[in-house]
């Protein structure tokens, strides 16, 4: 019996080592192969975007074979991405180049040792290739820390069959929406996640509001959550919800998706991510968010999230890394990313390609980019979400008046910023 046991154990061990050994060997050799100028790029793409991105990187590798530079990609799940950067980069085990939206940029720069400034490399020719506003997203305290890769913002998405001519102003929108609302049968004229501050920012910016104000050279901006413009913007949305009754209660992205797919709501404010969930049978149009009559006809200015290409401060090959990010924002790479990856490149030349220019969705979002503003990249952006979300929830559920809710958010945000500020 004991013999039997031992032999099973041995076989098990053999099997385990047979699996594990090749993996260990590969790990050993991977380190040695890095003698050449081997760059690593981290991204969070999958599916078509990933394939397009890998194609663009391979094109870079082809072109730089002679120089001995090559880059390899590593996809990292979004939920682990920021953790992986914060853990690996300061310890010198991170990538040479990584891609991330600008909202974390300020935090990484203030933490130090993560993102390399690239001002010195950037020339006018490179600067000139981007849509307006794009460089702003990767610029922190007057220094550029990367190149913008692509952008996303919300816009007005509508069902072409149901909406003949999309409304251009809030007045037209409300009129149209009232006609198409029947709360008894669950039909709403307009759908968007108005309780989510990211979506609400479009209306807030139309009123000239904002959450932060930068004062002088201070590292941290001052909170301005309860400024009058913000209150006015919320008042307007609450009028739509409570008086005009054109918005559904308890909005969530899943709810908006199902309303749109069932044809119960035909105008929604959402971004490119929404389109993947739309029923294939629906013909979708994308156009600019309306202008706000209540704000003197100013256009809604949604927040853009712009993914930047950053060079790690710990990279051993920063110049080669810059060559790579320069290539990835070139006309050539932008074309691949737009046509095959269905991204919205920050390089403006992509939108001149006939395939893209004639694509109603891509050109619709491109047009919206003219009035959209990059989401601020302050280090304290992550502090903002929790208090403003609480405030929005209270307002939407009617448990608190806008002014009181925003006053409270202002107080809590200021406390949190001061907690960072007082430290040495």
């Amino acid at each position: 019996m004991s013999e039997f046991k031992h032999s099973t154990l041995r076989r098990l061990l053999l099997r385990v080592t047979a699996f594990a050994a090749p993996a260990l060997l590969v790990a050993g050799f991977a380190g040695e192969a890095a003698a050449q100028k081997q760059l690593t790029v981290w991204h969070a793409y999958r599916g078509g975007e990933k394939a397009a991105f890998e194609k663009a990187v391979n094109a870079f590798n082809e072109a730089n074979k002679a120089a001995g530079i090559s880059a390899k990609t590593l996809a990292v799940p979004y939920d682990a991405y920021a953790d992986k950067i914060s853990a690996a980069v300061p310890r010198g085990t991170g990538p040479d180049v990584f891609i991330f939206a600008q909202d974390r940029l300020g935090g990484w720069i203030e933490a130090g040792n993560i993102v390399e400034p690239v001002d010195f490399y950037i020339d006018d020719q490179v600067k000139g290739r981007f849509l307006p506003n794009m460089m702003e997203a990767v610029t922190y305290r007057n220094t550029a820390y990367g190149l913008p890769f692509n952008f996303k913002s919300i816009a007005m998405i509508y069902n072409k069959k149901a909406v003949a001519s999309p409304p251009k102003t809030t007045k037209e929108l409300v009129e149209w929406a009232k006609k198409n609302t029947d709360s008894g049968s669950g039909k709403y004229g307009l759908g968007y996640v108005y309780g989510d501050f990211f979506y609400h920012a479009a209306v807030m910016n139309a009123f000239g509001g904002g959450v932060f104000k930068q004062e002088g050279a201070a590292a941290l901006p001052t909170a301005t959550v309860n400024q009058p413009a913000n209150i006015k913007s919320v008042d307007l949305v609450m009028k739509w919800y409570k008086d005009d009754k054109i918005l559904p209660a308890e909005p969530s992205t899943a709810l908006i998706t199902s309303l749109f797919n069932e044809g119960k709501t035909n105008i929604v404010f959402s971004g490119p991510w929404f389109l993947g969930e739309v029923d294939k049978s629906i013909e979708v149009g994308v156009t600019n968010l309306p202008t706000v009559d209540e704000a003197g006809g100013a256009p809604m200015k949604p927040w853009m999230t712009i993914e930047g290409l950053y060079i790690s401060a710990q990279s051993k090959n920063k110049e080669a890394a810059y060559d790579l990010i320069k290539y990835l924002t070139s006309d050539e790479a932008a074309k691949v990313m737009a046509v095959e990856g269905r991204q919205l490149p920050s390089n403006k030349s992509a939108f001149a390609i006939p395939e893209i220019a004639n694509d109603p969705v891509m050109s619709g979002f491109r047009k919206q980019a003219d009035t959209a503003v990059p989401m601020p990249n302050y280090a304290v952006m992550t502090l903002m979400w929790s208090p403003v979300t609480t405030a929005m929830n209270k307002i939407v559920k009617g448990t608190s008046a806008p002014q009181a809710a925003f006053d409270e958010a202002q107080k809590s945000l200021t406390t949190d910023i001061d907690a960072l500020r007082k430290t040495r």
Binding site: V16, A23, A27, R46, L74, A75, D79, S86, T93
Partner: protein, 310 residues
């Protein structure tokens, strides 16, 4: 006596004749009702996962109800059955990414975690149960304490130890080490509790027969503790099987990712492919269910009166 305890097969053999005796089967109907209700409750959310996975759709299904919903409409709305039936999500998940390789990585990592975890836990638990030595109480407490410090904030120190100091980044062993250490405290406590219930007389008589400590441990105690070993094995396996954040942070090649890391690609960020995620979750859960099926027989082959008394 010794002849009985040294042949666990004999113990199992006495099982059939013992037990609560043959019962009238009709007396179990109440039990069946309770079990059916709970089984339904435990399966209902999972049926939604299945319905989502087989729907071919991607949006996290929220029941859709028509305008003036009647009883039947609502009943349809709460029935987890996809409107259309499609295997598309499964084929996409398996073909779009190297999911098979990731599953194998998971199997290696979770398998090694189970072996390492259960082995270390068994030996430690045996010592805690059978030896009296200074530091026993504090040692036990230490295992417990190790679970008390919130893990969410330990990522960076763990990264420093495993990747920077031990150089185990991008290797299965780094993950196995962390998972095993995570699983050991529960396993030790569980095993120790079980060992405590095994009468010490069995070992004492074996010692009198001249058996060494390790013989006793491997040949007598472990076979008797099969149910506890099965529970701890399942637990260790699950620890390594479902973890994703450390696996994605420690590994620096896509071919080295584990299945939960692969699953996470479908959600997070702006868009989420819930259909793919559901299909992937089901694929990932199948091995656990199979493992449980396999371990079941150990859960029901425990001590009997005959085995203990000799």
């Amino acid at each position: 006596m010794t002849s009985v305890v040294t042949t666990p097969a004999g113990i199992a053999g006495t099982k059939a004749s013992s037990g609560e005796g043959v019962k009238d089967r009709s007396g179990h109907w109440l039990l069946h009702i309770v079990l059916i209700v709970f089984t339904f409750l435990s399966c209902y959310p999972i049926l939604w996962v299945l319905s989502l996975a087989f729907s071919g759709q991607q949006s996290l299904s929220i029941a859709s109800i028509p305008a003036d919903a009647g009883f039947l409409d609502r009943l349809r709305a709460i029935t987890p059955w996809p409107a259309t039936f499609s295997l598309q999500n499964f084929t996409d998940v398996l073909t779009e990414q190297p999911f098979a390789i990731w599953l194998m990585n998971s199997a290696i990592v979770a398998g090694l975690t189970t072996i390492v975890g259960v082995f270390l836990a068994c030996t430690a638990a045996y010592a805690f149960s059978r030896f009296r030595f200074p530091g026993r109480q504090s040692g036990m407490l230490m295992f417990l304490i190790s679970q008390m410090f919130p893990g969410t904030l330990m990522m960076i120190p763990l990264y420093i130890i495993v990747v920077s100091w031990l150089g185990l980044g991008n290797s299965y062993f780094g993950l196995v080490l962390v998972y095993a250490v995570t699983a050991i405290p529960f396993c030790v406590w569980m095993m120790k509790g079980y060992f405590d219930t095994i009468p010490i007389e069995i070992e004492e008589s074996a010692i009198m027969d001249g058996a060494s400590r390790s013989t006793i441990f491997f040949r007598i105690v472990l076979p008797l503790a099969k149910p506890a070993v099965a529970v701890t094995a399942l637990f260790s396996f699950m620890t390594g099987w479902n973890e994703f954040i450390l696996a994605s942070v420690f590994m620096s090649e896509e071919s080295r990712y584990t299945a939960p890391v692969g699953l996470k690609f479908f959600v997070g960020g702006f868009s989420a492919q819930w259909g793919y995620f559901a299909a992937g979750s089901i694929i990932v859960s199948v091995p656990v269910v199979i493992l449980f099926l396999y371990l079941q027989k150990y859960l029901v082959s425990g001590l009997t009166a005959g085995g203990v008394k000799g």
